[in-house]
């Protein structure tokens, strides 16, 4: 294992390729280099740049439809559809749009795309370039869920939230893992906050690099967290296949309900989703 890429948890690091002279001068003045490589996996195995207008590529994406059980387990308020009003590819972007409308007994509609049964994999670098929506009760996410294992249920199957965001906190995203003994409110999580910027006014890259016994979380060129088996108070369940989910929830226990101040519709714009396979041996 290439441990030189491992980081101390919580250490914030800058990308090597920052071109600014001033930054370099500051870095050069440090006694020991804090330069770290954000990503190391470069062998692309899945790429969707959303280049074809219309419905998303059916070879990659499935949909969850409806309200799930108990609002997908979180008291979420939206009804997921695959209608073009809620999910559509336009001008090189995937648009997932949450609307305030009465539909099949729900007060909101939105969409949830997943690669279950189409792309499921162990380890690798997963990243997406996204411009997020905003507003109280808006809850977009880019995440991985463990593939079905006979006889086992969540959280034993594992969950890696590459990016979660509360619309009422437009400068903050969270990267989180859920497993047995550390799920929901006890999940292992870290915030990443933008300084003098926010996530709903431009595109940002959200990614993880996941190998045996570590998951590195990054936003743009900043590696902001690493989670290893030592960091979780339970079994490490991230050594099997996972699939990708992109969704935009409305309401639910994580964000609370929208209020009169929430502007609808809200759209999550996805420029691309890419997966690079792990180059670490034995996977």
């Amino acid at each position: 294992m290439k441990n030189k890429k491992r980081l101390k948890r919580g250490l914030r690091v800058l990308a090597a390729k920052l071109p600014l002279l001033c930054t370099l001068l500051v870095l050069a003045s440090c006694s020991t280099s804090e330069e770290q490589t954000v990503v190391t996996f470069t062998d692309l195995v899945l790429e969707d740049n959303f280049d074809v207008d219309g419905a998303p590529n059916a070879e990659i994406w499935n949909y969850n439809i409806g309200t799930g059980e108990n609002g997908w387990g979180n008291n979420e308020l939206q009804y997921y559809t695959s209608r073009s009003e809620n999910v559509n590819v336009q001008n090189g972007y995937l648009l997932i749009t949450a609307r305030k409308e009465n539909y099949e007994g729900s007060g909101y509609t939105s969409a949830r795309l997943l690669t279950k049964g189409k792309f499921e994999r162990t380890y690798g670098r997963y990243e997406a370039r996204i411009e997020l929506p905003y507003g109280q009760g808006i809850w977009p996410a880019f995440w991985l869920l463990g593939s079905d294992i006979p006889g086992e249920i969540w959280p034993q199957i594992g969950e890696i939230d590459i990016m979660e965001y509360r619309g009422q906190e437009p400068t903050v995203v969270l990267g989180t893992v859920h497993g047995p003994g550390y799920s929901a409110g006890q999940s292992v999580s870290k915030r990443y906050e933008l300084e003098n910027d926010r996530f709903d006014t431009g595109f940002h890259i959200f990614g993880i690099e996941w190998g045996p016994e570590y998951i590195n979380f990054y936003v743009d060129d900043v590696l902001y967290n690493q989670i290893t088996p030592d960091d979780v108070p339970g079994e490490w369940v991230f050594n099997h296949d996972f699939y990708i989910i992109l969704n935009l929830a409305v309401g639910g226990s994580f964000v609370g309900s929208p209020n009169a101040e929430t502007v609808f519709p809200q759209t999550m714009l996805v420029d691309y989703v890419r997966v690079y396979q792990s180059n670490i041996p034995n996977n």
């Binding site: 905003y134 400068t171 926010r198 502007v263």
Partner: protein, 464 residues
């Protein structure tokens, strides 16, 4: 961070060095930009900042307080007077600079504030320099508390503020008659980078349709800009017309100038809309322009026999408001809006009911109420159509409530109404049967039947 700052300082030093080597500038050179300093009050007045209290305000309400501060040496202290303070009725001042600043690189005015009690500052903002106030920004009803909190007043469109001298202003009166003290500190323009999702509006975001006439002017009101802040709050401020670009759909029918004032030219329909910083503002004004307007009959009663609330023919008593908001059922928009060649007319749209508060007026010696009404819409009146007129006397305490108010209303039924022409009514006080007192008259209220949603009002006066 420290290293970066030192580096910047060194860079600045080098730049200064170079500047000193250059030849002096010719007298013909016109400076394109002003100083971009965003500091207003940190530990004291920044260079060139002045204090000018409003006329009628407590002139010494403001002091620099060296004992209280959020950060550093001192803060601004504002002592709001009690009701009835002979030194002034409220605390209000502008803080302009001697020479304008270029604030286009910032996105908000920020400050820390606290008060001796939880309170609501009536108006606070920037862009007021006792001059044109072309880029005035006002946050109304800012809630403050007893601990220091940072507040953000976004700039509706920073690109407009290349030469702004009005850096800060406020106006606050007693709360429930009581004065109190609030402090403001670390007032500065900042580039937060998190002021986002602009949602400008005209007419408070409403799509208003209005019947009107040629050769009149109508100001576009309800101009606001709303941004979402880093804390998730949508912050709405009132923004001067100067921030907006107004448009007309039909320049042959109605024009709109850069102050947001519409002038109707010919019969037809025109829609007035606006942009702010390239973003389409919510709200519009659709004008159905009819022919030339006939003014209300000019009153002929001698001034000595009249107490006038609203008329160009008489001296009027003070009017507190033309469209008091009664939550939550009132829909009425408009007020003292219409001006036809210097003749002022009250204009209401979306009318269900509306109150005008004035005075108080002692009409004990008067015998009746006169009012001129005009229904501009070409609607069909039926047996259910009516306009109610209500008078309220506030009693000896001269304020609403208190158990001494008296109220009475009369109905103008359909057979007394007409559209497209003035309806002049004289109503003897004896018709307001429940109005037992009229020595503290304070409110006249109009209520209309459903479908009768536009009304012009002129010449409201009491006569004998």
């Amino acid at each position: 961070m420290m290293k970066t700052n030192i580096y910047k300082l060194i860079c600045a030093g080098i730049l200064i060095g170079f500047t000193a080597c250059e030849r002096p500038l010719s007298d013909d050179v016109e400076f394109a930009t002003y100083a971009s300093n965003g500091d207003v009050f940190l530990d004291g007045f920044t260079a060139g900042l002045n204090y000018f209290p409003f006329e009628g305000s407590k002139l010494d309400a403001f002091t620099v307080d060296a004992d209280v501060s959020y950060d550093g040496e001192a803060s601004m202290r504002i002592d709001v007077p009690n009701f009835g303070d002979p030194a002034g009725a409220y605390a209000g001042a502008v803080f302009p600079t001697d020479s304008p600043r270029d604030l286009s690189g910032y996105d908000a005015l920020t400050f820390w504030a606290k008060a001796t009690k939880a309170a609501t500052i009536n108006e606070i903002g920037f862009g007021n320099n006792f001059g044109e106030n072309k880029f005035l920004v006002t946050k109304t009803n800012l809630r403050i508390s007893t601990n220091w909190v940072k507040y953000t007043i976004p700039i509706p469109d920073p690109s407009k503020l290349v030469a702004e001298s009005g850096l800060f202003w406020y106006s606050e009166g007693p709360e429930d008659g009581d004065g109190y003290t609030f402090w403001v500190d670390e007032i500065q323009f900042e580039k937060l980078g998190t002021v986002a999702q602009p949602r400008p509006a005209i007419l408070n975001g409403e799509d208003v349709e209005q019947s009107t006439f040629t050769d009149i002017t109508i100001p576009i009101t309800g101009l606001t800009q709303t941004f979402n802040l880093a804390n998730g709050i949508n912050q709405t401020v009132n923004a001067a017309p100067g921030y907006f670009t107004f448009e007309t759909s039909n320049p042959g029918v109605a024009l709109v100038n850069e102050q947001g004032v519409v002038t109707t030219l010919n019969e037809g329909t025109a829609v007035i809309t606006a942009l702010l910083g390239g973003v389409r503002a919510a709200g519009s004004l659709t004008l159905n322009v009819g022919g030339a307007f006939e003014l209300a009959p000019v009153p002929t009663r001698p001034a000595a026999d009249v107490i006038s609330v609203y008329s160009d023919a008489y001296t009027n008593v003070n009017v507190d408001f033309y469209n008091g908001f009664f939550e939550p059922f009132q829909t009425t928009l408009g007020g003292d809006d219409l001006n036809i060649n210097g003749n002022r007319i009250i204009s209401y749209t979306d009318l269900n009911f509306v109150g005008i508060q004035f005075g108080r007026v002692n009409a004990s010696a008067m015998t009746g109420l006169h009012v001129d009404l005009y229904i501009p819409e070409s609607i069909t009146l039926n047996d259910n159509s009516f306009i109610d007129i209500e008078l309220q006397d506030y009693g000896s305490d001269a304020v609403t409530g208190g158990g001494d108010d008296t109220v009475s209303r009369i109905k103008l039924p359909a057979d007394r109404l007409q559209t497209g022409q003035w309806i002049s009514v004289d109503i003897p006080f004896t018709d307001f049967t429940a109005l037992s007192n009229r020595s503290n008259l304070g409110l006249i209220l109009f209520q209309s039947s459903e479908g009768l949603s536009e009304l012009l009002v002129d010449n409201i006066y009491f006569y004998r």
